[in-house]
Symmetry: C2
Subunit: 411 residues, 2 copies
Amino acid sequence: MLDRLRNEAINNNSNVKIKQAIAVKHTITRLYYEQTLSNLDLGRQLFMTPPSVTSILNSLIKEGIVEMKGRGYSNGGRKPMLYGLVPDFGYILSIDMDQYYTKMAIFNMHNINVTPIKTFHLRLNNERSTFDILVSEIHSLIEISTIDTSKILGIGLSMPGFVNTQLGVNFTFLNFGNEKPFRTLIEEEFGMPVFIENDASVLAIAENKFGLAKGVKNALVLKMSWGVGLGLILNGHLYRGHAGLAGEFSHIPIVDSEIICSCGKQGCLETETSALVVAKLAKEGIRNGKISSLQGMVNDDLDKIEAEMVVKAANMGDQYSVQILSIIGYKLGKGIAILMHLFNPELIVLGGNMAKANQFLTIPIQQALNKYCIPLIQENTRIVVSKLDENGGLLGAVAMVFDNIFVEKVK
Amino acid sequence: MLDRLRNEAINNNSNVKIKQAIAVKHTITRLYYEQTLSNLDLGRQLFMTPPSVTSILNSLIKEGIVEMKGRGYSNGGRKPMLYGLVPDFGYILSIDMDQYYTKMAIFNMHNINVTPIKTFHLRLNNERSTFDILVSEIHSLIEISTIDTSKILGIGLSMPGFVNTQLGVNFTFLNFGNEKPFRTLIEEEFGMPVFIENDASVLAIAENKFGLAKGVKNALVLKMSWGVGLGLILNGHLYRGHAGLAGEFSHIPIVDSEIICSCGKQGCLETETSALVVAKLAKEGIRNGKISSLQGMVNDDLDKIEAEMVVKAANMGDQYSVQILSIIGYKLGKGIAILMHLFNPELIVLGGNMAKANQFLTIPIQQALNKYCIPLIQENTRIVVSKLDENGGLLGAVAMVFDNIFVEKVK
DNA sequence: AATTACTTTTAAAATTATTTTAAAAACTTT
DNA sequence: AAAGTTTTTAAAATAATTTTAAAAGTAATT
């Protein structure tokens, strides 16, 4: 069964078998996302009668994929039997990379990590040695987990950069010329399906499945860290665009300045709103005589100032830090106004490590929206700060793998 | 059958009946969009075996919905029987409104108008009398068509303004306070389903079904006329946003100027790129001494200059008009660069009456993209000028009604 | 504590739908 | 004209789903 699902060999089978396979996948998916469901619950969701659901559940129980989870609530009548996934019928290996650090862990079908979350320094670039380190770290993670490779459903990789999920290529990082796509290299190394996705998109998946945007049809998720990434949930699905490059919010040309962006262009939003800019503004300001508790935090070695410190200082009452965040927030708000006019989302989730600035960003953002947004559009959109912790990316990558195997395939 | 489809009373029926109904709708939809298909073609598209398709087709033939259309091509073997919709099994009444003129006609199931296309002056506003005129014009159209009301599947309305399709409300026009939504008023008047949609979205549907964006998964359609409307086809479907307000490209804040936009804000793209601005620039320039053949076209009565004349003059070689369009195009291009970064579309279609400016707009747009767009994104997007004629809106509204009845319901 | 009413679950029968099989029909190519 | 293809249909076989009815389990009521 597992092999069948993993290799997806439903090729020249009959239509009926395809439909049955779909029903089975639906069942597993519902149980994965809602933990436990009764026979009737499943029937309602999948348009099946109780006997049909029973037959699917029984075969899944026989195969060790589903188990009974005790009885649920009833308001007068027999209590329904609840069914759930057997937590270790399969595992997903999740990897969350940023420019400097990589995190990874193996998760079971209850979304619980069965290995510790392993973090290590890894500078993302296009060198083969970086790839080799990544591979050996994955190998060692699998080894210490003592999980049989055949039980790992797939590997999910969240990465910054221009990622084309379908091709399995990251054009920005770990791109070694014209040979096989990055994803294929990993797939051949480990003999299991691999899915890569842009980090902001993964965060959007995480919010849409487990966070504040759970079940929301149209949501934008901003990942505010080195740059500003944008993940899009539109019509209930992740939106990737034609070549997987949608959501390049960081580089929309809306700034009137001479600064050249890392992408080579002028006028990118990123030149005025990223974490790098926060740190830069703080350094410059203090050098020009501004008073701030940041000085003390770095023992007057201003080069050590980082954006996260500014956020921390603001949260501790440092007025100059508040002021910097306010400037950044207002500029970001102007960018968000553009997003709201184009996407008219129900919800915007602010995520990434800069989101800890909370009201120091949200208030100036709202001020900018008051100025730049058509009221009718503004009224229809809520802006919230993510409640997912720093492992949101890992969770999102897990869900991404699950969806690729059980819901809708990209590749 | 028709009544069943129109009233969609598939409520407490069994799952099997629902699935059958879906197969029937799918069949009708494929025949609608592809004119004729063989038994095997349909089977391939709908995952059904020949006997299953036969039984559906036979019942549809018996009900007068489908008919045989002769035999198709075969490269060695029996020629397949082609099936198509009976053109007059149902009709759709389509209305395309802009700020000043309204067009309407009744179309059969082959997308051919069975009445002449009727155009009349109607200034869009929020007065009840405007509504009354619209209603009486629809009545008279139905009357001269001599079509039985029960054979009209529905009415499709394309309108400028902030349209919420689900609620059936246009917040900008024909909005009479707190009573019933506009759509309901029309529905009650004519006793048939009514669907309203923003004009740019309708144009996007038209391009996606019949135009250059046919079958394209991710396409943006710009309607360049009084303002600049944006219709979005994302993941193969029209994207409306949470409250139906997505695509407000006209009012994104990216301009540094003091001009107050019609929406009340400053800095809207519309203040620098709409047809109104084209006319304004032309008038101002000529008053300040620019030489142009436009002067002759209006007998020196500069107030009569309209954007369409500038386009015409440019097409006839007038250098000043070319220059104006070039300025507008470049600014529009900067806005399009933003769209490309956010949506990463496969295709951008330039439509609306200003699209006749063709290369006078596309060349400066490309210049702007060269400057403002990340090459990787630019490489993946084609920009083309619409080939639909001035009745594209009517066609789009027809397809919108069809899709609402046979494919996916919005309301 | 027993009864009633209600919900969930299962098993068997009945129904219905789909696929398979095989043959016939229609056509092209050799 | 014969051989080979493709489409189409009809009948038989198979498989799935629903219906029906009964059983099991629980809460509320008497």
